[in-house]
Amino acid sequence: MAREKIHVGLEIGTTKVCAVVAECNRDGEMRILGVGESPSRGVRKGEIVDFKNATQCVHDALADAEDRSDYEIKGVWLAISGSHIKSFNNRSAVTLPEESTITAKEIESVEFKAKEAGIPKEDVIIHSVIQRYYVDGQEGVIDPHGMMGTKLEADFHIIHGVTNRIQNAIRCVREFDIDVEDIVVNSVASAQVVLDEQQKQAGAVLIDIGGGVTDYIVYKEGAVCHSGVIAIGGDHITNDLCIGLRIPIARAEKLKIEEGSAITENISASEKITLKNDTGFSGRDIDRLMLNMIIQARLEELFGILRKRIQEVVPEHLLGAGILLTGGCSLLRGIREAAESVFPGTPVYLAHAQAVSGPMSAFENPQLSTCIGAAKYAQAVHAEMPYESLLNRLKGFFSGRM
């Protein structure tokens, strides 16, 4: 099975829908063949609000990706976001009979038990990520397979979301007879490509600030210990500018990208930016200080909320690899400085997908982290799967005979 496999990652974002076609080797190398994009309509805060329009955008992005990669897309790995996605940590335990070794069956049942934890009725578990096992109270067991013990415990990080809202995103893709192979939460996907093993071990926070939502995931000692979504993104900055400076949304968006910054130091109070005349908009001078202050206030608040949530699960000094910012909004000038001022003493970096090859413009773009991550996640899942499924198939074969 040393053949390359092609995976497609799809993200239905608030600003754009993008699809990444990537070729993956069994040894984990990944090469991007093509990226398809389409500006997004009908998506607010990472969730679909206008099904018809969103479906059209998904179609455009997938068609674009097919053109560019010269590959016919049959199935995608869909990245999911939205404020309905929540997470918690749960420990479960199974007791084994005396003098027995832990087998795949026990490991499976300990995961199953962890998933039984109460989530609201309308929710579904998207991921259950293993954090660590304990065998008879012995901590830090990475793989209990084959160990002796009477009690197997495990900590799981469980991510769940509202079934119907997830279904909506999936249906958007299925409209064109394209299969959704699996779904992955944005933050989990981004972490696949932005963070490497060392960073996860040292402790790191990945913050993916997109157009409508901010996804974050916290790693401690190599395991996910917290993740979540805050429904604030670049759109909020644009909206703030629109209200604060009294300019139309489209102008506000342009102004944010061209001139916006989160640094308010060394700006004289009289510095102005001239907005040109446009149809339906008479030109105006805008205070640069005001512009930057509005952006800074929003970002500092966002980081403040994140800091509070992160501190609850892991003290800052344990974040050896610091904070990594990615997503479209991380392109905003001064965002690193804004984060540094909220997380004093913790290094902050701007990050994008690592360890992938292909067109530089693709993987160095932080806007595509999630999408590339979804393809990488697919590869990671597949890397484990053939082995397992072969085993299962054999098992089924034998038990069928007997």
């Binding site: 607010r44 609000v49 404020s83 934890a117 989530i119 629109c242 949304i249 005001m290 202050m293 929003r298």
Partner: protein, 411 residues
């Protein structure tokens, strides 16, 4: 509208006496709720073998069961002991049922006192000629098989004597609250549903109106099958009260968000409201309900009107789903007939003119303490393009409103 008070006893010009006998710890809990929260025309009597719980209770009458048998320490989950206690206090029990026209029995089955005493009281009350309605809960599954067996046995005992049984399964009731809520809150919510059901049954029987629910209708529904009991109650006032009250009632977990109504063969709808309740509102509610029920189901409508202008509109839905056989249908059916001969006095004509008791407000639904958009003092402009989307609320702040506005940043 002409009403035909089938149960009217013209000879005695007195109000019907409704009495709630709450038995055991669970029962006393409910009685306390009723005594504290609602001004229902209902006498409450607490019966328990546990002296401590009785002492803490605020019920107007308290009866300690079997002080010699249990020494006031409770039956300890043992029905045998509960039975002993009941035998010891037989005369008190007999007194407690005397003079009541309608008796509600409220108990949590599965324990010692509730399981053993409730059937006994039901029998006594029946012999006394009262209409007996039992409102009971079945234990949680995790309480073990022994308890649910005790509960089943008690249930059979009760069904032999009671005119109707309203039973709730604790397992189902626990689904009311989100899985992550505190245990105390969940128990309180369960108690609350029980309380609501007793309160609305009382209203149903005692409140006069242009379209009173006849007691046989009510009994017919309560008796109609052994399947799940459906219950939902909601109250609201203001301009959109009809819609809101019904929404609340349908949201009841015992209706599975209105879905179970489709399976009900008989549904009783009771509306109680102020004088200003319009016919159009009644019509709107009934139309909405008929959308939620299957077209073969039989709808009973009752409307009662309170004198009080500020009374909220209360919608109560009662029904039965599933056609599972009742535990002992023949026994109760046979026993009912002789008692019918001397029906208890309900709705004497005079009291219709001067009922002092407005329908008591049912407990408002416990909603999660989530800040809604309406709660925040917003200027219309402040949310901009996020006007029509679900607000992002973190720690009670609406984050869609620009940060600089909320922090009052000014140059």
């Amino acid at each position: 509208m002409i009403t035909y008070p089938r149960w009217l006893d013209r000879g005695t010009h007195k109000e019907p006496v409704l009495r709630l006998l709450s038995i055991g710890n669970a029962g006393v809990n409910i009685a306390d709720r009723i005594a504290v929260r609602a001004s229902l025309p209902l006498e409450t009597v607490a019966l328990n073998s546990d002296q401590q719980s009785l002492n803490a209770s605020v019920a107007s009458r308290k009866i300690a069961l079997g002080p010699m048998t249990t020494h006031g320490l409770g039956a300890g989950g043992d029905p045998e002991m509960g039975l002993e206690a009941a035998r010891e206090s037989m005369s008190e029990l007999r007194q407690s049922v005397e003079g009541a026209d309608v008796i509600f029995l409220c108990a949590g089955l599965g324990g010692g006192t509730g399981s053993a005493v409730t059937p006994q009281v039901a029998e006594l009350a029946r012999a006394n000629g009262s209409l007996v309605i039992a409102v009971v809960t079945m234990p949680f599954q995790f309480e073990g098989r022994r308890r649910s067996q005790q509960a089943q046995e008690a249930m059979q005992g009760i069904s032999r004597h009671a005119d109707a049984i309203v039973h709730f399964e604790n397992d189902r009731m626990a689904e009311i609250t989100a899985p992550r809520t505190e245990a105390e809150e969940t128990f309180a919510a369960c108690d609350n549903i029980l309380f609501q059901s007793v309160a609305s049954l009382t209203r149903l029987i005692s409140c006069p109106g242009p379209m009173a629910v006849a007691v046989p209708d009510l009994l017919g529904i309560l008796r109609s099958g052994g399947g799940g009991f459906l219950f939902g109650s909601g109250e609201a006032d203001g301009g959109n009260r009809a819609h809101e009250a019904l929404e609340q009632a349908l949201r009841s977990p015992l209706l599975d968000r209105g879905r179970l109504l489709h399976e009900a063969s008989k549904v009783l709808v009771h509306l109680s409201g102020p004088r200003s309740l319009t016919f159009a509102e009644v019509g709107a509610i009934m139309q909405e309900i008929s959308k939620n029920t299957s077209h073969t189901s039989l709808l009973h409508l009752g409307v009662s009107v309170a004198r009080d202008e500020s009374a909220p509109l209360i919608v109560t839905l009662i029904g039965h789903c599933g056609a599972a056989a009742r535990i002992e249908p023949t026994a109760s059916a046979l026993k009912i007939e002789p008692v019918r001969a001397t029906p208890p006095a309900l709705f004497p004509e005079e009291t219709i003119q001067s009922t002092p008791n407005p329908p008591a407000p049912a407990e408002p639904k416990t909603t999660p303490p989530k800040v809604k958009q309406e709660d925040l003092p917003l200027e219309p402009i402040a949310r901009g393009r996020f006007e029509k989307v679900e607000p992002t609320i973190v720690e009670g702040e609406d984050l869609d409103v620009p940060t600089f506005l909320r922090r009052k940043l000014k140059k």
